[in-house]
């Protein structure tokens, strides 16, 4: 069992290991048919990493750019765009979903069950049904050609995240609400002093998931972003691959690593929250 699992785990990790390994080799060694993980000699790995990612002095003193400094793609700019979209989208998503989930769990009002049901049903609606008209709507609002279409909708909450937070709020003891009410708190006070502090882990899960979602998203940027200057990393990577026809594999893998690394880093830092969020969404009722 242990050996089988070790093999399975190795197979799942190999593509990523090979991506990083290729990104640390000179072009000739990436395609020389060897199965080595490091360039030859192994001591050249730091210098090679610098050359592939950042750039190097080529023969004759000319500057040979790496992926980060390549003027034909501008990855620093794509990174900045992606981070801007992520920051605005995640902030909006967390705030709005937290508020709406309160309305679905702590306020009793007529129609609550029905509206909640409708909200759950919207999770099935494919984005493709909406993308054409959304393009028209954002065009009318003068937002095509800006980053706004990518983060603005998040400020109205997301069905799945609202659902997740509502499930979490349900587990916050009602006695705490009543204590707050005794102290003269209204709904807002209860939300701000009781629910939000008690729900920090769940809010972190929503933030993490939404960050991953936005970082990963491809279809929406493809529909709404018209200028290359506005591209996100996902679009930029696709463009980098397709622009020259034969982008050297070592550089393409370096570019891919740039796109993957932040997410992997986040996973290492927040592994526990990510895993707990997954099981919370599905198993607990």
């Amino acid at each position: 069992m242990f050996a089988t699992l070790a093999c399975v785990a190795a197979m799942y990790l190999t593509p990523l290991v090979w991506m990083i390994s290729t990104s640390l080799k000179p072009e000739a060694q990436a395609t020389d048919g060897s199965l080595r993980l490091l360039p030859v000699p192994a001591s050249s790995v730091v210098e090679r990493a610098r050359a592939n990612y950042y750039g190097e002095e080529a023969a004759g003193g000319a500057w040979k750019p790496g992926v980060w400094t390549d003027p034909s793609v501008d990855f620093p700019r794509f990174m900045r765009n992606t981070l801007v979209v992520c920051a605005l989208s995640v902030t909006g998503m967390v705030i709005s979903s937290a508020v709406v989930a309160y309305g679905f769990s702590r306020v009793r009002w007529r129609g609550r069950g029905l509206v909640f049901g409708v909200m759950l049903a919207t999770m099935m609606i494919p984005f493709a049904v909406l993308m054409g008209p959304l393009y028209v709507i954002f065009g009318r609002l003068g937002l095509i050609g800006t980053l706004a279409p990518l983060w603005l909708p998040a400020w109205f909450g997301g069905a799945f995240n609202i659902f997740l937070l509502r499930q979490f709020y349900m587990q916050v003891p009602r006695e705490l609400d009543e204590a707050a009410r005794m102290d003269g708190c209204g709904h807002w006070g209860t939300f701000w002093r009781v629910i939000v502090p008690m729900s920090r882990p769940a809010l972190a899960v929503v933030a993490l998931y939404h960050f991953m979602f936005v970082w990963n998203d491809f279809l929406a940027p493809m529909v709404f972003l018209t200028h290359r200057d506005d591209f996100t990393l996902a679009l930029g990577l696709q463009m980098y691959q397709s622009k020259a026809g034969n982008t050297p594999w070592n550089l393409l893998m370096a570019a891919s690593t740039l796109v993957v690394a932040p997410v992997l880093l986040l996973f290492v830092l927040a592994q526990r929250q990510l895993v707990s969020g997954l099981s919370a969404g599905s198993v607990k009722e």
């Binding site: 399975v8 785990a9 799942y12 190999t14 709005s96 009002w109 494919p126 996973f267």
Partner: protein, 294 residues
């Protein structure tokens, strides 16, 4: 205002962000696309009403059937395989093995990789001349194919890549398996059940609601597959023989490359009906099979 009236008002106020967003970014676009689907709408001009013409056109549109078929076979192959594989892996992970957490992380990590980056990585791994897959096959004396340039092999590649991304399902199954009460297994052991019978008559019924949830999620996701094949086949409408040209890709091309918003909207509505219909069907069929607690 009565207390009840105040609470009713407060409820609507608290959920108003979502209600407004739902109206502006969902209900309105859906109404628009339903209307567009009955029009001819070249993006630069206005929509012109043509009745059900777009829907009739689909019947004779070879690419529509091709992409629908591609999406169908992809789902029909990937969904059962992914489900079986993730159940097996989850079963092994929950059997008190050493370093289980580490292995679990290894299987989960690929699901975090952005799809475009996945496409780049696999394009490199499946490269006919220098790819790692063929190098590994060469070690055992097999002359690997030019994966992404032959229709059949490209289809295999798509399935393999999909199976690389089952980590989320695995995690969900792990959580579900851990919730099966130990006492049920003890009872099964007392009845003298072997491991296979025990899995079929104890484990499967207990986790069947979770399987249903996962299969529905997978189905909805499969019907919308887009980014990975697009990047993997370098925006070439699905690579060799268009084997990787899926429904959403065709819809996107119609709307934004050919500027036929009307026809694209009709395609979108057919997709929506398919998603809802399949989900409904699965709930219906599973009603008899899925075990509900309490």
């Amino acid at each position: 205002m009565t207390r009840e009236g105040r609470e009713n008002l407060a409820g609507w106020v608290w959920v108003s962000p979502w209600v407004i967003g739902f109206g502006v970014f969902m209900l309105l676009p859906m109404a628009m696309s339903l209307y567009y689907s009955f029009t001819e709408y070249p993006m630069l001009e206005g929509p012109v009403w043509v009745g059900a013409e777009n829907y009739a056109r689909m019947l004779g549109d070879g690419t529509f059937w091709k992409t629908l078929w591609n999406t169908a076979w992809y789902g029909a192959v990937v969904i059962p395989l992914a489900t079986a594989l993730s159940l097996v892996i989850a079963g092994m992970l929950t059997s008190k093995v050493r370093a289980g957490g580490l292995f679990q992380a290894a299987v989960f990590i690929p699901t975090l990789v952005p799809l475009v980056a996945s496409a780049m990585i696999w394009m490199w791994l499946f490269n006919g001349r220098h790819g790692l897959v063929n190098r590994a096959l060469g070690l055992v004396g097999v002359d690997g194919p030019v994966w992404l340039e032959r229709a059949g092999w490209a289809a295999c590649a798509l399935v393999i890549i999909a199976l690389w991304g089952v980590g989320q399902q695995v995690m969900i199954y792990c959580a579900a398996l851990r919730e099966v009460p130990e006492s049920l297994y003890e009872a099964a052991d007392l009845d003298g059940m072997g491991p296979v019978r025990r899995f079929v008559s104890v484990t499967l019924p207990m986790i069947s609601p979770v399987i249903l949830f996962n299969v529905i999620t997978l189905t909805i996701g499969t019907l919308q597959v887009f980014a990975l094949p697009l990047a993997l086949f370098q925006n070439s409408k699905g690579g060799p023989g268009q084997v990787g040209y899926f429904y959403t890709m065709y819809m996107f091309d119609k709307a934004f490359a050919d500027g036929e918003m009307g026809y694209a909207s009709a395609l979108a509505w057919v997709q929506l009906v398919l998603v809802l219909g399949l989900t409904w069907l699965m709930f219906k069929v599973s009603g008899r099979v899925v075990h509900t607690r309490g």
